[in-house]
């Protein structure tokens, strides 16, 4: 397999940065999944589409708006009516889902190359993300495993909370470098480490 080259390479500077007074309050890294796949069902076929996702990935996503699940290697969440994002560290999930979801159920769109996945973890993750997105990141309003779609200016972003202090962000690849730089700048105040 040919490696998927990161869009961030020249600006991805591992190590500790920003204000070091309190150490690093957050950690940032690119998760580089092998598969990022969108599944969209026809109205009324949401159940069948979900069943296919859950079967393909051995997950248990429910039909509620924004509902999601995750494991060590996979995650899935709804981000629009009848629309889910399915992420797998391994390549090939697109084909697996295409095999399981027929035309009568919905459609599968492979976005493995088109989105850049960034994780932000740490006690100040909510604070830093609140600089960019008009979302309430408190645990009550944004529980663990839930997904949301949002935007900061031109940066369209999908966000899944994967721990009380961790969020996984999916941004368009062509914007990823600018977004990463913005994220790093926003994190300087609290100190951050790129892993």
């Amino acid at each position: 397999m040919v490696e998927i080259v990161s869009a961030l390479e020249p600006v991805y500077r591992r190590g500790a940065h920003g204000n070091r007074d309190g150490g690093s309050a957050i950690t940032l890294w690119e998760t580089q999944p092998g598969s990022i796949v969108q599944v969209t069902s026809w109205p009324g076929k949401e159940g069948a589409a979900l069943a296919a996702i859950n079967a393909a990935a051995s997950l248990d996503v429910t039909a509620d708006a924004g509902a999601g699940v995750f494991s060590d290697t996979r995650s899935a969440f709804g981000f629009a009516p009848g629309r889910w994002l399915m992420v797998d560290q391994a390549e090939g999930m697109g084909d697996t889902l295409r095999d399981r979801i027929d035309t009568q159920t919905g459609t599968v769109t492979d976005l493995s190359h088109g989105r850049t996945a960034i994780a932000i973890e740490g006690e100040r993750a909510e604070w830093v993300l609140s600089k960019l997105f008009a979302l309430d990141f408190s645990l009550a309003a944004f529980p663990v495993s839930v997904g949301k779609s949002t935007a900061h200016h031109e940066f369209f972003t999908l966000i899944q909370r994967t721990a009380t202090d961790r969020f996984d962000l999916y941004v368009y690849r062509s914007f990823a470098r600018s977004f990463w730089q913005l994220l790093c700048t926003s994190a300087e105040e609290v100190g951050y480490t790129v892993d």
Binding site: E3, I4, R20, T107, L111, S112, D136, H153, L182
Partner: protein, 981 residues
């Protein structure tokens, strides 16, 4: 330490000396001082000059309402003008300059304007400077001559041209209860909400919490107010559900309880910490909000009321009690209400001598009498201050008996004082409530506008709601011991001695006087808005916080109507001025994101000069060894025609159109047919707007029975996506079609030229590439260097050409492989300029021709209009205006003088006519290596009918005129034999 610093008291840290400079003079103050209190402590009486008459002015207020003491804060090369000294917390190294004075604050030549005050009355600009009707200064010339002097004289502080390199940030916050203001009302509200477990944000515009608790005397639950404040603040800080934001002004109340607030994060520090923004712009979404914004004290209007040394009584008390600074040694009080008596006591307690308390009222409350006794000094009830003397420092005041609105000369006397503390009553700070949408209500008893009934989810508390006592502000549950004074003022706003004795100011900063308001009335500028606009009352940086109500009252009196009928202006955001940087937040210095193709780094490493196309960066040319742009693109374009070139086309919009009805949907979206397109074939399509105007074009590839890959132009990708989504959601929801933007999923490279197939044959695995396997507009899947690719044989250049798509993460890998495979054929990377040249030679249209005004017929694309089916635009494309004879239509033009053509030049039939009648314009130009000529595309009236005719370009802006021949836009290989070959 100075004559004006009190011996003790105040919430300042006397052990910490802070050094700053004012107009170049080194001074010092204490931690806890504002610049205003520190200047006062240093004995500075004149702090600024007024706008129009350049009158010397001193500190008048203690808060955001300060009209006079505006200064410029200087940090390195950066200047921040017009900052109220009352809002600046001093820090070591603070450097400030006074403003609007020349040559110096103490001697200002502009003060000469004051001598001709009657000439410069309200509206004088409108009545003169028109200049002569004939001669060299007619028209606007005389005015413009005068204007340059007026402009220089006007304005307040000077901003610099140096780019501001500080950081600004945004922050979104959500809460159950936002409390605006941390005076007693705000603190109590925050405490209550916190106890109920609500998520609370408490915003305070000052650096410290407490509002009036910091200077008014009262006992709360047995504790002195200041102690209660400290305890309560500590409790709130300890609670997990309260966010306290000091130095944060809530300045905007927007729809649906969204608030804009400015936090001044580092303005009070000598230097910011790493990563710390200067300002943070908060957008707060609050379920409920408590407006506890307090009230502004009003001045009383009388002749000479702007002398340095005259200030608001509440402010005087605050300087004494909070800052341990005396505004004067020998102080008189002038009031129409009880609250100033508290101020008198505070000043007295801090060490000032109270010379007299002059009260317009004949009788006062027992509490006020008590306070008067404590303060000492003469109590002059039924008296008014009728004049004030002293230029750079108040020297004396004139006092006369006052009864029933009349001043009597008998009993007139002068009192020597260096400070006059004035109170004309209080105006609740209702600005945010007014922004939220409703008109305030005039309260006759309090002589003030009270907040309207809420139109959004807010409640009011404390002085904001007309509840001025500490007990009322805190609410019922506290035991409060305070002077029980009466806050209702006498309804007197102006003192008008019979004999005119000087200017009586209403709006201090803008030098609007009471006579200006009466002049406005005489001239019919009576409505509040006319008053404001004609006299500029309330338009200064303080937005009339002290002047609005007195101004309105004087107008009402002049008109002989009650104030309630005179109306009030609507308050608009911002409540107080906010830095433009904070509103731009993270975009300051980073205006828009950069969109990069997967091969961006390769282009940069190979000498590409980049061109910004919307947010994208695309190679314009690859500069080889000092070539000009023209030399580079001619070389690149020639290489394509002669052998092979490669261009990055990743920026083209790409949309996955999926579902059983995808073909039917495309038939409606495109003017031509797509449902009949075979799988693994592509077709060029044209989209119109409903009006029948060309919208976008591109090729769409059928990858499966139910799966299409649509390409759009780079510029319109977003618009087309939205267009498709709109029709699927709002017009044809029954169609089972999904659209997804996959622009970023694919890297695309177009390999073009007679040797294109040979290049691919070297590197593509898994598929044949011959004419049968991959005919024109055919598509195949294969692999290049192990990466899966999708190859479509289509041509924008007119050459044998292939678009090779692969996953974006494989983009550079595949590009490298193509470059390696092309090496024997001298494969040449080419940029937008060469791409443009090749397309002009072929007569293909782009955004320059599909400009939102041209119809498909104008572009000779009518062959693409299907007669077999309706499509978006089909019903309107034949309207009379769209088929008119005189429309401009697409042609080619050839320069006949062998000189370059210019885009944007016009075409005329004859150069001799004056004015020349334009028959069209040039949309795109190039030097054509294939033709050896300068050519262009143009939109010209008559279009095709002019082929073979001579015309002229007329480009007066660039002084380029010359003959051209109008020809077909298909310049090169019109039969298309090269791309089919």
């Amino acid at each position: 330490m100075t004559a004006h610093r009190t011996q003790r008291g105040g919430r300042i840290d006397r052990s910490r000396i802070i050094r700053f400079t004012f107009d170049g003079t080194a001074m010092s103050g204490h931690s806890g001082d504002t610049l205003a209190s520190a200047l006062m402590a240093n004995g500075i009486s004149v702090v600024g000059r007024s706008f129009k008459y350049h009158r010397p002015r001193g500190i008048f207020a203690a808060g955001i309402d300060e009209p006079n003491a505006l200064v410029t804060v200087i940090r390195g090369k950066l200047r921040e003008p017009n900052v109220p000294a009352t809002q600046i917390e001093i820090y070591d190294g603070l450097t400030v300059e006074s403003q609007n004075r020349f040559p110096s604050l103490s001697f200002d030549v502009g003060a000469i304007n004051g001598l001709a005050g009657n000439l410069f009355a309200a509206g004088f600009y409108y009545k003169t400077f028109m200049g002569p009707v004939v001669g060299p200064l007619k028209g606007t010339r005389f005015w413009m001559f005068c204007e340059q002097f007026i402009r220089r004289a006007a304005g307040l502080g000077r901003a610099g041209y140096e780019a501001d390199t500080d950081r600004y940030e945004k922050m979104f916050a959500f809460c159950d209860v936002l409390v605006v203001g941390s005076g007693p009302a705000g603190l109590a509200a925050a405490q209550r909400a916190a106890a109920e477990g609500k998520r609370v944000i408490l915003a305070e515009q000052d650096g410290t919490l407490g509002g009036a608790l910091r200077w008014r005397s009262a006992t709360i639950d047995g504790q002195p107010a200041a102690e209660w404040l400290d305890t309560t603040e500590a409790e709130l800080r300890a609670a997990g559900n309260v966010t306290i934001l000091p130095r944060t002004t809530v300045w905007g109340y927007y729809d649906d309880n969204q608030f804009a607030a400015l936090e001044r994060v580092t303005d009070h520090k000598s230097a910011p910490a790493i990563g710390e923004p200067r300002h943070r712009q908060w957008t707060i979404r609050a379920k409920d909000v408590v407006l506890a914004t307090g009230a502004f004290e009003r001045p009383i209007v009388f002749p000479g009321n702007d002398r340095p040394g005259i200030l608001l009584a509440g402010a005087a008390a605050r300087y004494a009690a909070q800052f341990g600074t005396l505004p004067g040694r020998r102080v008189a009080i002038f009031t129409n209400n009880d609250s100033a008596y508290e101020a008198a006591v505070a000043l007295r307690d801090a060490g000032a001598e109270i010379a007299a308390i002059v009260d317009l009222r004949a009788g006062i409350s027992p509490a006020a009498r008590d306070l008067a006794r404590q303060a000492g000094g003469e109590l002059l009830l039924g008296h008014a201050v009728t004049n004030a003397g002293g230029t750079k420092r108040l020297r004396e005041i004139d006092v006369q008996p006052f009864a029933g609105g009349t001043i009597t000369d008998r009993g007139k006397r002068s009192i020597v004082v260096d400070c006059l503390a004035v109170s004309g009553g209080w105006s609740p700070a209702i600005h945010l409530a007014s922004q939220a949408g409703a008109a305030p209500v005039w309260d006759e008893a309090l002589q003030a506008f009270l907040p309207p009934a809420p139109s959004q989810r807010w409640t009011g508390a404390g002085a904001f709601a007309g509840k001025f006592s500490t007990a009322d502000a805190l609410g019922g549950e506290f035991e409060v011991d305070e002077a029980e004074i009466d806050y209702a003022p006498a309804p007197v706003f102006e003192i008008r001695p019979a004999k005119k004795s000087g200017k009586s100011f209403v709006d201090f900063q803008h030098d609007v006087t009471a006579s200006d308001i009466r002049l406005a009335n005489r001239e019919g500028f009576q409505s509040v808005e006319h008053l404001k606009r004609y006299t500029t009352l309330g338009m200064a940086t303080d937005q009339g916080k002290t002047s609005n109500v007195p101004g309105l009252a004087i107008m009402a009196a002049a008109r002989g109507i009650p104030i309630s009928q005179a109306g009030t202006t609507r308050f608009r955001p911002p409540f107080s001025a906010v830095s433009i940087g904070s509103l731009a937040a993270d975009t300051h210095g980073h205006f828009k994101p950069e969109r990069l193709t997967p091969m961006h780094d390769w282009h940069m490493q190979h000498g590409a000069r980049m061109y910004s196309a919307g947010l994208w960066y695309r190679p314009m040319i690859y500069g080889a060894g000092g070539e000009t742009i023209e030399q580079a693109y001619v070389r690149e374009a020639a290489a394509v025609r002669e052998s092979v070139g490669i261009v990055d086309v990743s920026t083209l919009g790409k949309i996955a159109v999926q579902g059983p009805d995808a073909g039917a949907f495309l038939d409606r979206v495109y003017t031509n047919m797509f449902s009949t397109l075979p799988v693994m074939k592509a077709r060029y399509g044209l989209m119109l707007r409903e009006e029948g105007i060309a919208f976008d074009d591109g090729t769409t590839w059928r990858l499966g029975e139910h799966e299409f890959l649509m390409t759009t132009t780079t510029a319109n990708a977003g618009k087309v996506m939205q267009h498709l989504e709109y029709y699927l959601d709002c017009v044809w929801p029954d169609l089972r079609v999904h659209v997804t933007s996959v622009t970023d999923e694919w890297a695309g490279g177009a390999v073009a030229g007679p040797n294109a197939r040979k290049v691919l044959e070297v590197c593509v695995d898994g598929t044949a590439l011959d004419n049968d396997a991959l005919p024109f507009m055919g598509i195949v899947r294969g692999e290049i260097a192990g990466a899966p690719v999708l190859i479509c044989r289509l041509s924008f250049s007119g050459e044998l050409a292939y678009e090779v798509y692969c996953g974006a993460g494989h983009g550079t890998h595949v590009w490298d492989a193509l470059m390696a495979a092309g090496k024997p054929f001298a494969i040449t990377p080419y940029g937008l300029e060469a791409l443009g040249t090749l397309r002009i030679e072929k007569g293909h249209v782009t955004g320059a021709e599909i400009d939102g005004r041209t119809s498909p017929r104008d572009l000779y694309l009518d062959w693409m209009l299907s007669k077999k089916k309706p499509y978006i635009g089909s019903a309107m494309v034949d309207r009379e205006g769209l088929v008119a004879e005189d429309r401009v239509r697409l042609v080619g033009i050839v320069s006949l003088d062998d000189r370059p053509l210019n885009g944007g030049a016009h075409i005329v039939e004859r150069l001799e006519d004056e004015p020349r009648d334009s028959i069209g314009h040039i949309t795109a130009v190039c030097y054509s290596p294939a033709l050896g000529k300068y050519i262009g595309l143009a939109l010209v009236k008559g279009g095709k009918t002019r082929h073979g005719q001579r015309a002229h370009i007329s480009d007066p802006l660039r002084n380029r005129f010359g003959p051209v021949e109008i020809v077909s836009h298909h310049f090169f290989d019109p039969e298309g034999s090269r791309m089919h070959g």
